[in-house]
Symmetry: C2
Subunit: 224 residues, 2 copies
DNA sequence: TTTTGTGAACGTGTTCACAGCG
DNA sequence: CGCTGTGAACACGTTCACAAAA
């Protein structure tokens, strides 16, 4: 297990979901081809990804569903719980706090902060909104989620770093600067809309890059 | 302007934002180096990206801020308005409908649909929630946004396609199947959390791929 | 001199194709 | 035979480095 590419890690998340589904269906083994099919990628890609982490499959048989699922869960760090806080008690903050799926995956959004005096003290999805000035290391947050307006985002990022978070998930449409020791991920909805707009605008002019269409492999046996 | 890569289009969105800021600051010209600095990429990348769309710069001077901004706006298809609808009147739907930024970029979220009888008829961010069964081609939606629970996502995607949308933005954490003629983009918050979790889990073991750190170019003149 | 535009070099991720094992 | 694991080939995106233009 040497250097793992980021796209590979993202695919791991997908494999994990498929495996959860397949496990629920009661299947015991799954082939790289079947795993790939649900994902829209090639079976070679699946095998490459998995083999870069270890030898999880059995030649001639495929992968043991539950075993592989557990291995991936551990690889992704989902076999533990993460303490996270949300900064920004607006619409997005509320949406995040209200979504049960995160807790199911081990992400506990245990606190909400906001700078707006009108919001402080009110309850949002069961958590009392605290003033952002109270953000400190003694709460032991490992992850900070930024759900503020753009103008506040960098300032909040700095505060989160000062509070000792190891990772930040940023929902504000702005590139943030954080020290190398802090991991940053961004969800940029505005950019996604714009990327869609670009694709639609250029779609009829020859289907340029309008959608990352991925051909399924020919599926027949290799010629010659 | 031949084949444009998707990463290149996404960077275009960033350039656009920087140019809006810089234009507001009253600057007339900007160099590829300055554009790159705000973005954390190399100036060569900026020039490559821009030159793949046309010759917008002037050697020795840089790029004219307002002109380049307008060119990119047109390239991204932001010089027009898009009719979009949101399916799913839950937290995420509400967050999207409540965010003014989309309208500012030309995306009009003109309607909300939901399958839940309790929600239908209620008002959400100024729009009356309509039954998802009413979704039809006569509303002329160009873009459909899926903000439903996972289990409903594929069904809703099919309905949107039937209603004639050209593009779909999916917020449900599930791979969707749509015809090639429809462009699909996905915002997967769950995956983003998991990617963060992976990075944090493996961070101390040698800083593998924990954060896509991009070095600024050496900045000195080329040696030799 | 400054800074763009771009072919060439490079690096990285994906696909192929087959050896190896069950 | 079926299917994984993997080196080799390939495709693609990024960076370099320099000629051309202002």
């Amino acid at each position: 297990m040497s250097r793992i590419s980021e796209p590979s890690v993202r695919r791991l998340s997908h494999y994990y979901r498929v495996l959860e589904e397949v496990a629920a269906e009661g299947k015991r083994m799954i082939s790289s081809h079947l795993l790939a099919e649900r994902e829209g990628i090639t079976s070679a890609q699946v095998r490459k990804d998995l083999s870069s982490f270890g030898s999880f499959g059995r030649r001639g048989l495929g992968y043991h569903v539950e075993h592989l699922r557990d291995e991936i869960r551990a690889l992704l760090g989902l076999d533990r719980r993460w303490r996270a806080c949300v900064v920004g008690a607006g619409h997005i903050g509320a949406a995040l706090l209200g979504y049960r799926g995160f807790a199911d995956q081990g992400f506990d959004l245990v606190a909400v902060f906001d700078a707006d005096a009108d919001r402080i003290g009110r309850t949002l999805e069961g958590r009392v909104v605290r003033p952002v000035s109270q953000l400190s290391a003694k709460d032991g947050f490992e992850i900070g989620v930024i759900a503020t307006p753009v103008r506040a985002a960098q300032e909040v990022a700095d505060a989160l770093v000062a509070a000792g978070v190891q990772g930040i998930l940023n929902f504000a449409p702005r590139k943030l600067r954080v020290p190398d020791s802090v991991t940053l991920r961004a969800v940029d909805m505005t950019m996604e809309f714009e990327s869609l707009s670009y694709a639609l605008t250029h779609a009829r002019a020859g289907r340029l890059s309008a959608g990352r269409v991925r051909r399924r492999p020919p599926r027949g046996r290799p010629r010659a």
